[in-house]
Symmetry: D2
Subunit: 252 residues, 4 copies
């Protein structure tokens, strides 16, 4: 039994060039595309419009930084234990880009998908809000422990999506969902950054299943900055000792 | 004894904004900067000129992709074993951005530093070439197993650096080193992509100690694309089986 | 509002000793316990009986090695790209201990839990088999692509559990489930190693939620061996090239 | 040109068994070896004596735990951000087993190697001490910030090595080095746990180049315990917040 080779459409390397998605890296990509455009093109296989690239830029810029997150602390702690392997410290930080923080992008994207697939979007929004409220389940894309009553990043992202003519079904669905949420919960829950990003990336043509990859990319850039700072003004020992002192030993 | 708190200049989070390097994320960064500009600003603390950003874009675009590298294969193998944790697959791929492949950027940057610190740059170049030749040590930034006789990515990067008026001391030093290398070795060794990137980033204001971070970032973007492809047309089983069959079992 | 410090019962470090679970490391643990006993004690907080330790040993020995798995290949590929950071290569291998391969231990443990919580265990076994068959869902703990018709590791593990008087409810439940599976599917599906381990560890007092940790530990040991071999007779280049050749480039 | 396949001597998988180093896993290893013995056998290719296994056990037991180390904190922070991927949290912790902490095992082993290769071991010890003192370089295997004046783990390890008749050249060399260090520095520097482990593992037949692998393995076990505790009495939020508060924001 012969089995066909699987294929890749991403990259071919020849003696005198590298082809990404069939396009010459050296002639048509280097110096022609921004990193963001190249990423969109390599990941999704189509060249982004200027508007799509602008929205992706806005989302990556937004997700890059949020202070000394667990992810940043893990990276700094690791860097100072293994400074010979910067990539290991960055990887340690990336490993925390999981379900709890950035994973909410995917959760919110799934809710928007549900609405867009429904005949009655408003009704579906109401149903989603009611289900989550009844189950006391956090609603992905809504609420923030610090940015109260409103996460200021969400309107900034919407503005970019609107000014670039990208805001469409997904952003509209998120706004509907937001209205339903406030009505059902009887109080205002902010759309947070991950919610806005789920909607904006959705309208920019990024499928939900790969959104986490863009979140990892944005955080990766942020981690580089924290490691660079750790190289010059290390905070790791203070972070380590504070962590130790925050937990009390208790015999079994 | 009181000890002073270490400091971070990167990010402060307030209720209604996020400040990166003292600048409002929502007012002055989202929608205003590309991801590349934001990364330069967050990592290095100064806003890049358009020319610096163009060179950084070119370097990131160049490093993003080189086919089914060990790093890409590690990421794909990991993704298919743990698809619930895309960040883990990306991290596995990033862990290979070490001394052997991308680490040559740092090695080449160190040689350029040596030349720039010397009174006689030409003489220093000759000395570097002679030392490496005598020790049979690979010269970081030179040579490529596939891109022979010349790595086409190097001139593409130089072109961007020159057209943007960035090419300066570091690029000049690398060109001098290249001449010395060809003379000392008695044959042509190509400047490779990592050599060109070490020089271009050096002239764009990126210190050598953090260059690996940018390499990790570029590869991170590339890995997202490979995982997206793995989601749709998985190659992992073929990669796995080929790996198994490439190694013969031999009893002790 | 004051918030209480969280506690750890695992370890206190003093000037002249280290206490693990309240026991002196230097007086009562080093030289007194095997690594396996120490691991059981540190993780679960109770000293294992000799029988429990024997079963845990058997499970760790079983899981350590299965040839050039994706996890091993990822570790070898990473090691050869970053030999200065052995821990990164081991970490890359560990990252693949996810839902697909070893994660089936947890899946099987959950099924055994369901049976043990049911009034009618036989009936519950039948229900489980029918559900999985109807949904065409793989049954965790059953079946193996290579070890057909039977995985020889399962009886070896059961034997240790039985000879040590550990085999009890969980092993019995797995045997019941196996009978139900064969009856419902109308053909024999082997209990595989992960199934046997889920049952044996369950009867040895290891809660399901931490079983994956022991799988990671066993694989970690195996990876050390593969890296040691890679240090002396490297296979990485062959694995890499075979992987490349196993996938065909196809223009978009 | 045909190229020979590289070989592996570690593992062959057949339909009805798994052979590790040519030995049947199911007949001769499961239930016959402890995890420690199996690890020694798989990694080094020879079956350990009972005495060698006892020393390896003692070293693994020693390295497993030292409280809320940076590695443990990184793992806990990661686990709480991505609880669906326990292996990622363990990997994050392992990534910190680098040059700074556990890497000193390798550094000390290299010094012992130097002594054992010298004609005049005492003289070489003196030279090593003088070099490090003059260069103000930390001496790997000596000194400890907490365990002062003496690290209690070192004598506990030596005792196991001596009682099992394993202590030989390496342990003797370390003792000589210790005398030379005290004489040259004019004050007592403790032999620490990593120093004692370098010597004990050396005498137990473990080559220096793979010692880090055993350190990673021991820490891996310890991390499983911390994650299990995090599952039941989470400390991550306290660790995170303490880390944030330990660092002060300072505008550029």
């Amino acid at each position: 039994m012969t089995r066909q080779k699987p294929t890749t459409a991403i990259c071919a390397v020849t003696t005198d060039d590298v082809y990404v998605r069939g396009t010459s890296l050296t002639t048509d990509l280097i110096g022609k595309l921004t990193f963001t455009e190249m990423t969109y093109f390599q990941v999704l296989g189509t060249m982004p419009t200027a508007a799509q690239a602008a929205v992706l830029d806005a989302c990556l810029v937004t997700l890059m930084e949020h202070g000394l997150t667990p992810s940043v602390q893990a990276a700094r702690l690791t860097y100072s234990s293994a400074p010979e392997a910067m990539q290991a410290a960055i990887a340690a930080g990336i490993l925390g880009v999981g379900s709890v923080f950035v994973g909410t992008v995917e959760g919110c994207a799934a809710l928007l998908r549900r609405m867009l697939d429904a005949d009655d979007r408003e009704g579906e929004a109401r149903k989603i809000a009611e289900e989550h409220k009844a189950a006391l389940r956090p609603l992905p894309g809504f609420g923030h422990p610090i940015h109260k009553p409103d996460d200021p990043r969400a309107p900034a992202i919407f503005k970019v999506a609107e000014e670039n003519g990208i805001a469409a079904d997904h952003v509209a669905a998120l706004r509907s969902l937001s209205s339903a949420v406030d009505a059902v919960y009887g109080r205002h829950l902010t759309i947070n950054a991950t919610g806005a990003i789920a909607a904006a990336l959705g309208d920019a043509g990024v499928p939900a299943e790969i959104m986490r990859g863009f979140a990892v990319l944005a955080r990766c850039a942020g981690l580089v900055g924290h490691i660079h700072e750790e190289q010059h003004t290390p905070a790791m020992r203070a972070i380590w000792e504070a962590g130790e002192q925050a937990v009390r030993y208790e015999e079994d």
